[in-house]
């Protein structure tokens, strides 16, 4: 706990660098990642991340020092070349994009590893710490690094701010952007460049191996909480920054721990929790909505059946129907039927008698409405879409549960309150 206060108070300048650095780096990659995710190019980030390794090594071999400025330039060059190559291979051969991504990623990374091992055996003392770029070591961020990386992060954020409208458009609808005269290719090139920049800023804290996660995961998590692009960007940046902070803290209390994997672990847990629990889009919410709808369908089908049984028995709607009467007409699953009947009694649509179940007034009018919607829809399909009468039942079975009172009114008016459906059954109106 004492550690935590010491850490959060930012009194120690080293901690200040590490904290500010991690937050800034994680947030800026999350912002760019939002656009690449929406463009469905998430994995391209993975390719860039791996491809900066040979650039870093080459810069070191050429200059012989571990100056962040040179290393960033090297990383930028090879990262950018890798994207151009992926594009070129996909355009000029039958190789698909995913194969091209995997190919460039692994070859570039292999070359990087070869260079790194050669450097490590060369005996140059300055090389120690170069391997921190693999898995990230936020704790090794010093003032000079922070200056370079924050400058890049700042450029990146300003670029996104200035070109926000343009990026939003090419992320959602490239063809439209083209048609209204946007320089789409140039903008995509800028976005590509920003992606490479984002990767380059993140490598010190997160490392090349897992950098892709910082582009993909915060944006994927944010996507589950909102449909608004601005909110999504701020949320992604916030989540990225939070995991950056926690990752930096962990590498502060346990220096043996690589920072990158911890940052990725935290943002992944946030993302996976979002996948399950987010309102509207989460797995749990979807499952509950689905269950609710299934129950509603079952109950409405039972009421509809009661109404139809009444119609067939000379409009004696308030006679008792046994479970047998019901299943003879429509094969419900017995356990589901029992549950539905009990629920309907609780809601006051049915009442239990000694030998079975009977409509209440409210139940009858609801059953009648569903039957009416079913038949109106069948008629609408045959009249307006010219579908054969023997093909309309299935569709009506689904739509009858969805039609709102407003739509119901428009259907009635459009069809001018017809009396018969295509199968010559009476359409029952409420009087």
């Amino acid at each position: 706990m004492e550690n935590l206060w010491e850490f959060l108070s930012l009194r120690d300048p080293n901690i200040r660098y590490v904290v500010l650095g991690s937050i800034l780096l994680a947030a800026s990659s999350a912002i760019v990642g939002t656009f690449t995710l929406l463009k469905k190019k998430a994995l391209v980030g993975d390719a860039v991340a791996h491809s900066v390794l040979p650039g870093i090594c080459l810069a070191f071999i050429l200059t012989g020092v571990k100056n962040p400025f040179y290393l960033v330039i090297g990383a930028f060059v090879t990262g950018w070349i890798s994207l151009v190559l992926i594009d070129y291979i996909t355009k000029h051969s039958k190789i698909k994009e995913d194969t091209a991504i995997g190919l460039i990623l692994s070859v570039f990374f292999g070359i990087g590893i070869l260079m790194l091992t050669v450097i490590q055996k060369s005996g140059n003392a300055a090389q120690s710490g170069l391997d921190h770029f693999l898995f990230g070591q936020a704790a090794s961020l010093v003032g000079q690094d922070l200056l370079v990386f924050s400058a890049i992060a700042l450029i990146l954020m300003i670029a996104v701010l200035v070109l926000f409208k343009e990026f939003a458009l090419i992320a959602f609808d490239t063809h439209f952007a083209e048609s209204i005269g946007f320089p789409v290719r140039a903008l995509e090139l800028v976005l590509t460049t920003l992606t490479v920049l984002a990767v380059v800023t993140g490598i010190q804290a997160i490392g090349v191996v897992l950098m892709a996660a910082m582009l993909i995961t915060p944006a994927a998590a944010a996507r589950f909480w909102t449909d608004k692009l601005t909110v999504m960007i701020f949320l992604a940046a916030g989540l990225g920054a939070f995991s950056g902070l926690v990752g930096a803290y962990i590498s502060y209390v346990a220096p043996a721990m690589p920072t990158g994997p911890w940052i990725v672990m935290i943002i992944s847990i946030i993302a996976i929790t979002s996948f399950f629990l987010a309102p509207q889009k989460g797995i749990l919410f979807r499952m509950i909505t689905q269950r609710k709808f299934q129950t509603q369908m079952l109950e409405e089908n039972i009421l509809k059946l009661f109404f139809q049984l009444g119609e067939r028995a000379d409009h004696k709607y308030f006679d008792t129907r046994s479970v047998d009467d019901i299943t003879r007409r429509r094969p419900f699953e017995l356990s589901k039927l029992q549950r539905g009947l009990k629920n309907l009694r609780k809601q006051g649509f049915l009442e239990a008698t000694a030998t079975g179940w009977v409509f209440t007034q409210a139940g009858k009018s609801k059953g009648q409405r569903i039957t009416k919607l079913h038949r109106l829809w069948e008629l609408y399909l045959t009249e307006y879409l010219k579908i054969a009468p023997d093909h309309v039942h299935e569709d009506a079975e689904t739509i009858e549960h969805i039609i709102t009172p407003e739509l119901e009114k428009r259907l009635e008016e459009q069809l001018q309150f017809p009396s018969m459906d295509p199968h010559k059954s009476q359409i029952p109106y409420q009087r």
Binding site: K94, I101, S106, V107, I111, I113, T117, T217, I272
Partner: protein, 297 residues
Amino acid sequence: MSAEAFWIIAAGALVAIPCGLLGCYLILRKMAMVGDAISHAVLPGIVIAFFVSGTREPISMLIGAGILGILTTFLIEFFHTKARLQTDASIGVTFTWLFAMGIILISLFAGQVDLDQECVLYGEIAYVPIDLWITSNGTIMGPRVMYIMGAVFVLVLLFILFGYKELFLTTFDPKFAAASGISVALWHYLLMGAVSFTTVGAFESVGAILVVALLIVPPATAYLLTENFKKMLLITAGLGVVISIVGYYIAAGLDGSVAGAMALVAGILFALAFLFSPQEGVVFKHKKHTLTLDQES
């Protein structure tokens, strides 16, 4: 050729061939990145198996990684269908998460398991000749990795030989395969299982990331050289051997990682095929193009 060079080259080829053969199916199914994801995501399985069994005993490693491989495929599918997450994001989130977990586990168990981050990245193929299998009565049976990779090699070969028709049909025409009673899902998971096993076998020699170079690059190269699937498999296997031999000598010359050099050679071979392949090569395409233009004018 020294005995040491022989063992390293042989181990490299034994890794490269089964990887490449399975890779042929992956790239044709547009699942190259799923292969990449699996090769990363088996890591926590391997580490846990290491920790539980305490040794590099291959059976528990294969089980651990096999479970993780199938789990990865399942999670990618699950997030995509149940949470409607777009496929590329689903792949990206899943494998980076599992890989991060693997690295964290390695750091946690550091000292308790004989594994380090470098091994994960580029393997220890250079140690193949000295990592011997010695039986309890002291007989030296030769390099241990050769047995593991030999077994994986034979299993992958048998898998492709006996499942050739099913794999072929589910790859090229899944609808027809389903109509003729072949379970597309079953063969999908069998293939993913085979990829996971091969990745584990390859893990010790070339590391979790460079496996991808052997899974994707040789098949992509062969794909540019032929339109016949059987030939593509044969060319891929041949490329695996070439990559292993040339890779070893480059690494020996530069005193660097053999696995890295193998990826470099794979990349060079692809570049050659991309430029000079008789049918697909960019250079010849360009020539053909200018020729037809000349005739027109």
